[in-house]
Amino acid sequence: MKGHEWLLMLVLLAYLAATMGYQAEIFFKVKGGARGGRILLLGAVVLQGIALVGHTLALRTAPFANAFTAANFFVWLLLVAFLLVEKPRRLTALGAFVTPMAFFVSLVAFAVRMGRAGSPARFDSPWLVVHVVLIGLGFVGLGLAFCLALVYLTSEKMLKTKHVTGTFRYLPSLQITDQLVLQSTTIGLALMTVGLAIGFYGGMTHTFIAPWRDGRILLSAFTWLLFALYLCTRRLLGWQGSKAHWMIVAGFAVFVLTLMVYQFRP
C-alpha cells in the first residue's frame, strides 16, 4: 500500500469509530458519544483531504479519476457538508445515519482497492471535469437527502407506534426534517441537472463518449428521474409523509448499490 492508502485506512477506522460514537449517543443514550464522533470525524475529514491531495499530486489526475478515489471523494464531500450543517441546524441525530453510509462506501471502495478499481480516466476536456464535479456534488445533496429521509422515517415510525422516548428526543422535528429533505433534494437535483446537461453536451460535441454508451451517465439519469419524480409529486400532488421519503430512500439505495456493482465489477 502507498502512503496515502495507509492514510485512507486510518480514515476508514476513524469513520467506524465515529459511527459507533454517534450511534451510541442517539440509540443508547451514551452522553458524549456524538461529541467524540464529531472530533474523530473532523480529524478523519482532514486526513482524507490530505490523502486525496496526495493522490492527486502523485498520479497527476483528478481525485475522482477512478472508482476508488471517486468513492473517497464523494464520502469526503458528504462529510464536509454534514459537518457544515450539523451544528447550525442541530442535526446531531443525522450523524448516526451519515457516518454509517460514509463508512460503508469507504469500506467497499477499500475492499476492491485501487488495482481493481479501473485505471485512472483521462480528463481531456475541462467540460468533463465540470460535468463530473457537478454530478458528484449533486450526489452529495441527494446522499444527504437520503440520510435525512431515514431520520424522518425513524421519527415517523416512532410517532406512529407511540415509542416517543429515548432516541426520539434526539431526532429533529418531522417538519424540519421534511424541509431539509426538500432543500437537499432541490440543490442536489439542480447541480445534477446542470452536470448531466454538460455531460450530454460534451458527449455530443467533444471527444468523450456518447452518453447512452456510458452506464454511469445512464444511472445518473435514472437517479435524476427518480428524484425529479419526488419533487413533482410533492409540488403537484402534495405528497409528503412516509411514502415520499420511502421513495427517496429506495431510490438512492438502489442507485448506490447498482453504481457500486457497476464500478467495482470484476
Binding site: K31, S155, L159, V164, T165, S173, L174, Q175, I176, G241
Partner: protein, 423 residues
Amino acid sequence: MHILALGLNHRTAPVDLRERLAFAPSQVGEALRRLMQQAPATEAAILSTCNRSEVYAVTSNHNAAVERIKQFLAQFHNLPAERFSPHLYHCLDDESVKHLFRVACGVDSMVVGETQILAQVKEAFDSARACGTVRVVLDELFRRALRVGKRARTETDISKGALSVSSAAVELAKQIFGDLRGTNILLLGAGKMSELTARYLVAQGATAVFVTNRTYERAAELARKFNGATIAWDHLPQQLHRADIVISSTAAPHYVLRHDTVAAAMRARRRRPMFLIDIAVPRDIEPSVNALDNVFLFNIDDLEQVVAENRREREKEVHKVEVMIAEETGKFAQWLKTLEVTPTLKALTQKAEQIREAELQALFNRLPHLQGRDRELIQAALKAVVNKLLHDPLITLREAAQSDDGYLTIDVMRRAFKLDNDS
C-alpha cells in the same frame, strides 16, 4: 465546625404542616436575622418551597443548634415544637452537603428532575447573601450545589420528558411541527382538559384556535377565552383541513371523527401533518385514522403511557446523578479540609520557605564572590526576617483554631497569601 441541614419535606410531613412551616419570600430576611440571633451558628440559609422548609447552618455545637433551630421554628411560625418535631430530619457535614446537592439536582423532589427547585435554591442563596448570613462555607456550598444541579441537567436526562398529559401533548406537537408558531388548533368539545392543553399550546406559540361544540354557546364562550373563532358542528368535515392540531374531548358515545373524514381533510390540506389528541372516553376519533400518512393520533392512554415512560426514564437517570453527587460531595469535603488550621500553617510556612530559598539562590548567583561565613550570615538574617514576619500570622491562625468562627480567619489568610493558588 459542622454543616447542619434541618427541615421537613413532602416525604416526612403532610401538606398542612408544610404550609404552616413555610417561609414566604418576604419573611426570609427577618427569619434569617432572628435565626442568627437565636441559634449558635456562624452562617445560615433558609430554603423554603411548597414541598420543603429547610435550614442550613454552620455551627460548632450541632446538638445545641438543632434544639435552638427547633425553638426558632416554633416561635417564628407560632406553632408548638411537638407538632412538627416528629416530622423533622437533620443531617450533618457530608450528609448535609449531599442532601443539598440532591435537592438541587431534583433527586429529592416529588417530581424527580423538576427544574424549578434549582431556581429556588438560587433564591435561597441570594436571600442569605443579601442578609449577610452566608460567608465562606455556605457560600461555597450553595455555589457548588447550583453547579452540580446544572451539571445533572445537562449531563443526564433527569429533567427530560414531560410529566403531565398536557405537556406531553405539547412536546409531541413540537416534535411534529418544530415551531408551533403559525399552527392552528381545533378544539372538539369544550372540556376542561382540552382547554388546558390548548392553553399550553398557545403559550408555545400556536396562533389560531377554532372551537366546535354541539352546544354553540359553550363553543363561543371557549373561543372568546382564546380570542378564537367558532365552527358550526355541522361544518366540521368541511373545516377540518384548517387544523394542524385537533384536541377532542366531547361526551359523544360514538366516533365524532371517522377515517373517511380525516382522509378527505388530509387531501384538502395537501397531506401536511395533522396531530390529533383524543382525550375523550369513550374515544371521539376512529383509531384507524392513525394509519393515514402524516396523521398522528394519540388517545388519553397513549399520552399517559408517554408520561409513565418519561417518569421511568427519569428514575433510571437518578443513579447517574447520585454518582455525580458523590463525586462532588467528595470534592467539597476536600475543599473544606483546607479551612482547617494545620494544613494552612503548613502551607504558609512552606510558601515562605520556598520564597526564602529562591531569593537566596538568586542573591548568591548575583554575588558569586560571597563565601563561607558571609553566606551563613545572610542565610541566618533572611531566615530571621521570614520567621518574624510569619510569627504574628501563625499566632493568629493558632488562636483562630480555638474559636467558633476561626475558619473565617483561616479563609482570609489563605486568600491573603494565595495559598490555594499554590497548592
